[in-house]
Symmetry: C2
Subunit: 240 residues, 2 copies
DNA sequence: AAGACACTTCGGCCCTCACCGAAGGATCGC
DNA sequence: GCGATCCTTCGGTGAGGGCCGAAGTGTCTT
């Protein structure tokens, strides 16, 4: 009945890893970690390669199942295939030894500050804001870390009070810890993390800054988080 | 105070992925997933490459932090560096599209049957036995999958009854689901999974078959699992 | 219809890297 | 000490793959 003959060999694993073993392709995937769809040209410019080179890489990534694509007119939109893929890249990124690259220009410094303050991580919230929300939820007994991360009964009720329904059970874990690159502490991911992030956008708590993955807390969001989580406002002063 | 300037670039991620992007190195890592230490020659023979080639690959893997090594006389013992690394390889392996390789010879069939029945997966139990234990623990209310995988109070008591103390809290999650390659269903991993596996070896419930990662259930183990989990004996008939 | 734009295909360049065999330590057993 | 075993270093070879620019296809705008 079950397929016991499916044998995983070294080359199989190597083929998958090989997709991420190129600087340009890895750069694509890191950019796509913001959870949005990018066009081929945007990615090419982002990585600093010719359009033709980007095409070849995208063909490999899509063919390998890491990326999903949608054609719209003359545009080729591409995004991470699924949450599992996003988690794989996160995991890899969190284990990769990072070079210390002091930001060069003043705009670069501002950009990196904005990213550290609040950003999307695939489909959930990260940065100081994401971590602060996660820790406040823990302090209020909405999350429990004792034996693995879980959403408590109070947590379910709290979500309901915000108008967020529990996501249906799938293979994706409802709550999951995702190590924050800048904070070095975990923030909330998983289906519930995604639902919370979606709700934050829909309700105008947060809004995108420019075209990147950085987000800013709005005045509404600041007040809502203070009311519902007791978050002090130092976490998310709106940025220009 | 915190290092906000550490920027992860594409090449950083690519360098890590590149370590696993070679068939031979991937084969090494899959072999090391049994959680034990292998010598360089064993790995070379396993992967079918010259000893000199194996040396080069091991240098890369150790240098990249994926493997830890210990020199003992003329032997170079090598093992996975830590549970995080093991989980990374598991994740990669579970996402890699696998070729269907019908086992060729009769001994190969027996080996693959033994592996499907019971084996180690890094430091915990996998195969039909690992999945059966996990599902029995779930049925008896020792594990809860509702909002992420957790060990229940009953589960803690059950472990204590077996003489297994709760592992101290570290960065490693106490319980974690690990997708079983052969069963396509999750089995118990994490610190508790590791403690249970260690206890199973120490108490003689299971024993290694030959030199691979396959294990066999002993008569003691069969009886203990029946008494404590109600496991029927079809799961683990001892193999020659 | 014409031009601009987004993407793809192709050919060619060059560099990286996996591999081996031969030779040279290093360690163990006798 | 003397082979046998385990590992390492080094040079050479060959294949693979990342890159670009030029030319071609399809799509949108004017």
């Amino acid at each position: 009945m079950r397929n016991h003959d499916a044998h995983l060999e070294g080359p199989d694993l190597a083929a998958l890893a090989g997709l991420l073993a190129d600087g340009t392709r890895a750069s694509f995937c890191l950019a796509l970690l913001d959870g949005r769809a990018w066009t081929a040209t945007e990615l090419a410019r982002h990585a600093g390669v010719a359009a033709s080179t980007a095409t070849e890489h995208l063909n490999l990534l899509v063919g390998g199942g890491l990326l999903a694509q949608e054609r719209q007119g003359r545009h080729r939109y591409v995004r991470l295939a699924d949450p599992e893929t996003a988690q794989l890249i996160e995991t890899l990124a969190s284990m990769a030894p990072r070079r210390v690259n002091p930001p060069r220009s003043l705009p670069a410094v501002n950009r990196s500050r904005a990213l550290a303050r609040a950003r999307t991580c695939y489909d959930h919230l990260a940065g100081a804001l994401g971590v602060a929300i996660t820790e406040a939820m823990t302090d209020r007994g909405l999350l429990d870390w004792e034996q693995g991360l879980t959403l408590t009964g109070n947590g379910i009720a709290w979500l309901a009070g915000l108008g967020i329904a529990l996501p249906p059970a799938t293979r994706r874990p409802p709550v999951r810890a995702c190590l924050d690159w800048t904070e070095r502490r975990p923030h909330l991911a998983g289906a519930v993390g995604a639902a919370l992030c979606r709700h934050a956008f829909d309700s105008g708590w947060i809004t995108r800054i420019g075209t990147g993955r950085a987000v800013a807390l709005t005045e509404i969001g600041r007040r809502t988080l203070q009311d519902h989580l007791g978050l002090s406002d130092e976490t998310g002063t709106p940025v220009s």
